[in-house]
Symmetry: D2
């Protein structure tokens, strides 16, 4: 990992303790950095009705939007889980990445052992659905 | 509104500008106060795939959890929308309230004209699903 | 239970076996009847990413819409779970009920022991969010 | 398109009329075929609270599970939208595909003009999250 990635890794690893995961006992955390160098973190937040669960990556991105971050784009997003391989983001989170991150921006998947792998958003969700698709469909 | 409610109303109203709602053009914001007097805010965050949209109330509650807020319970949650009557929280948000807020805790529904109505969480989602239900069902 | 309710109860109880719940081991089923007397069933369908889970009640209502059922309204909806009290519908399902069922229509909550309790949609999700709210908000 | 694909295309195109999409005015439909040759269809089903929206692909897969279809695997899934290019499935639907379809199974993306493109599930959601990941994480 380079210096920025190492900083996000430390932030996310430390943040695992704030995960709310009484149903899966599976802690996940995320940290992102914007172009201006600001950082935001996230944890998974479960619910007794499983469908209302929010993942760590989405918590971090929602945090960034909620802070008025939209004009300061996300440059990279790191995710950490206590898994046997670098954790995989779920499809719902890939969809939210595709809404808010440039196709070529970096997503770093890691585990608590420090293993990691890099993807771009476009590699994680190729041929993704866009605002333009919905406009095309609605105008016909 | 009492003083605490007025403070949450001002916070939430000011925060409407951070709503990400390019699909509905419908801005919603929320603000909550914990027992120790800390405040957290939220906005609605939409997605080109509508099902990945997150509401303002959930953004605020996720923000509080993400900040390690669990030991400092939510005392009241205020929601504001640019509606003709005080805004109604959707069922998904009521479910997340029932996970994290006491049944008797206060939810204040408001609109940009300053009209408001008070509910308890239990009034908004009576006879709610709990962790105990899931344990009962799974152990049989 | 009256005759229609007993028929829905039998349908839903028999349907529990089709639940896909490898993560919670918590089986839920639902059955609904339309004004013309047609019936539709549903089960909970979980996902390794908990947030993509779909509940039984929603599966049944989606089934009805998907079959072109909209012109033939839902008269009553029954839910069954292997719980210690009649099962409670989650907030997300209450929201979908409020979209597709009249406020006074009946929801029967049951468990595998045959205990049951009746609610109206309006009792389960009072002061609910509507299409009108979203139009009001977007037009300002 | 081959014969099976053409049959799914006709089924899905005819089914667009059952879409419930009063908020986006964007109709989507899906059709799938199992190994034994059975077919199931789906439409998008929106909600005034956008986050409760269900996509066409998920409706079709939930339909198949709900019918006890699990022992008869999905061989191919076709999606159609009134778009300017073959429609893209959202990330949430890709996640549900990864739960229920083999990595090499076929997803055919089409539009109402009859344009189409073929993907495998693994191409749509590479390095996907699995039940094994969640077990690894929870057991530590």
């Amino acid at each position: 990992m380079n210096e920025a990635e190492s900083r996000l890794f430390a932030l996310a690893k430390e943040h695992l303790k704030d995960s709310y995961s009484p149903y899966s006992h599976f802690q996940v955390a995320a940290a992102l950095m914007t172009e201006s160098g600001k950082t935001y973190t996230g944890v998974n937040i479960e619910n007794s009705s499983f469908g209302l669960t929010n993942c760590a990556e989405r918590t971090a991105m929602f945090n960034w939007i909620n802070d008025g971050g939209l004009p300061d784009p996300i440059e990279q997003l790191l995710i950490i889980g206590n898994t046997d391989r670098p954790i995989s983001p779920c499809g719902a989170c890939r969809q939210v990445m595709s809404e808010f991150m440039a196709p070529e921006s970096e997503v770093i998947l890691t585990d608590t052992k420090g293993e990691f792998v890099r993807y771009t958003v476009d590699e994680l969700i190729p041929y993704h659905f866009t605002e333009k698709d919905i406009e095309d469909g609605a105008n016909k």
